[in-house]
Symmetry: C2
Subunit: 288 residues, 2 copies
DNA sequence: TTCAAGTATGAATCCCTTT
DNA sequence: CAAAGGGATTCATACTTGA
């Protein structure tokens, strides 16, 4: 496939026309929010947002595999003192398009932009809306398990004498190993609330979300060698996550500068990372 | 006003007809979610939810003062593998009714219901949707300021892996019992993400949300002596918060057993609390 | 009295069986 | 064939118990 592991300059609606049906396992994207980033994207008016987005969503649906997922990172702007309705309008319209509104994850941003307003507090969360084409879809819940809650810490902090003895007698090795084994076993499934700090790096290209955010969903909804699409790839964060996890990426953006940044950024990563060699062989196998 | 500081048995839609226009400063409520709590409320079908709720919302709008706020605690159920749209439908319809959709707070529940499903994780958050009648409304931001603790410096500086994923423990709403410990700390404004556990104790009456939740909004949107209405008062949690903060309450519920529980619960509080005396004089002043 | 360990229980959801 | 019902799954919290 000629699109694989490339950044393509252009309007994703047009570009995707060249992509075959059902060729993508996961779409993860953070489109320009209405009227935001005017200088770069031209600024879509909130009232026009849904009609601007819908034809693109139609293409997304076409290129997504039946068991694939679409994760949309979005948040409604405040317009005239009110939250604008373009996000919920979009959900309703996309359902009419045939999408299933499977779930809504919340990204709790721990460090939000500072500021003070008379009628609201700082906005500290964003939506991560999951759409699917069918009720059954690929999901690998074990890949995102998290260590168990506080009681595990307590347990580790005060290991009782009997615990120590038991461990010694059983295995004979240092109890550190046992503890780690036990720790590994004690993983629990996460919830639909994600806790991640925003990345306050690079002022040039506003890093919209941290690499850990697409990485979490890529692990959850794809396997090694799968294809991850970001039709508004911006500075390439989704692609970075995909590469690091041994997935193929397709990055599209209408802005040439962003495409350039993404290319530079990912090339650096491919050099830097130790596991690139093995990842690349995987890529080559798939590409051939 | 004959309704003040009472629990009234009946359908709030009918009961409120007896309340004058613009007589309430804050409406805080958690209505029965669609198809939930069948045994108590009869269970409203998800598809009928909006049409069931709208005439009640109309009464709410009538009795609310121009500068008052309406906080609606709600969450969409999963129906046939999909999030149902009754919540976002309701937002759109209420806007047609003349409400402004000012803001949506997120309540991050620290202890969610356990369970495992092939297509989703545990639901760990609920919506707290703020509606207003006009752009300008009463808001006292200083009353809910949060102390900046060591967590701000240390935790945010070097986030551990678990920290990134798991919830922080102390950020919260700042309404904890040991706030006095933080007196010397610097205070900052909170965000629109609230951190509270559900109340899993108290076997007699299952309080769905903790007292701290209505308390937070009561402090934020009302002053001493103001009137707080909960049209689905359940076990009286909103009223408890109102009493503790020296506000007047109006509690309505269609279920006689709940009304009884609420009456008992609040009478106990009035006896127990040390600051009741002063609160009551205030009430009397207002009542006369 | 304090602290650690044990235990009960929630605004749940899926899936399969029964009516 | 739609609607209703029951079993299995699972974890943070706070109350209870015991040393």
């Amino acid at each position: 496939m000629e699109f694989l592991n490339k950044f393509i300059l252009g309007d994703c609606e047009k570009v995707l026309e060249g992509l075959p049906d059902e060729s993508v396992d996961l779409i993860f994207t953070s489109p320009p929010y209405a009227d935001q980033r005017k200088s770069i994207y031209g600024g879509i008016k909130p009232d026009k947002y849904v009609e601007w987005f819908l034809p693109k969503a139609k293409q997304f649906k076409r290129v997504l595999k039946p068991g694939g997922s679409f994760i949309l990172n979005i948040k409604e702007r405040v317009v005239n003192g009110e939250r604008h309705t373009y996000v919920i309008d979009l959900i309703l319209k996309m359902r009419q398009q045939g999408w299933l509104w499977t779930e809504e994850y919340v990204w709790h941003k721990k460090n939000s932009y500072p500021g003070k307003w008379p009628n609201r507090f700082r906005d500290n969360w964003e939506r991560l809306i999951q759409f699917n084409k069918q009720k059954k879809f690929k999901m690998f819940q074990e890949t995102v398990m998290v260590p168990v809650g506080d009681w595990a810490k307590n347990r580790l902090a005060n290991l009782s004498e009997t615990d120590k003895i038991r461990d010694e007698s059983k295995v004979g090795s240092g109890f550190g190993k046992n503890v780690s084994n036990w720790k590994n076993r004690k993983m629990v499934y996460p919830t639909n609330v994600l806790h991640m700090a925003t990345e306050c790096a690079n002022r040039k290209h506003s890093a919209v979300f941290p690499v850990t955010l697409p990485a979490w969903f890529i692990k959850l909804f794809t396997e090694q060698g799968d294809v991850v699409l970001d039709p508004f790839v911006g500075s390439g964060t989704t692609a970075v996550a995909a590469i690091e996890l041994g997935r193929n990426y397709i990055g599209i953006d209408i802005n040439a500068e962003y495409i350039e940044i993404s290319r530079k950024r990912t090339s650096q990563i491919q050099i830097r990372l130790p596991n690139v060699a093995e990842s690349q062989t995987e890529f080559e196998t798939i590409l051939n």
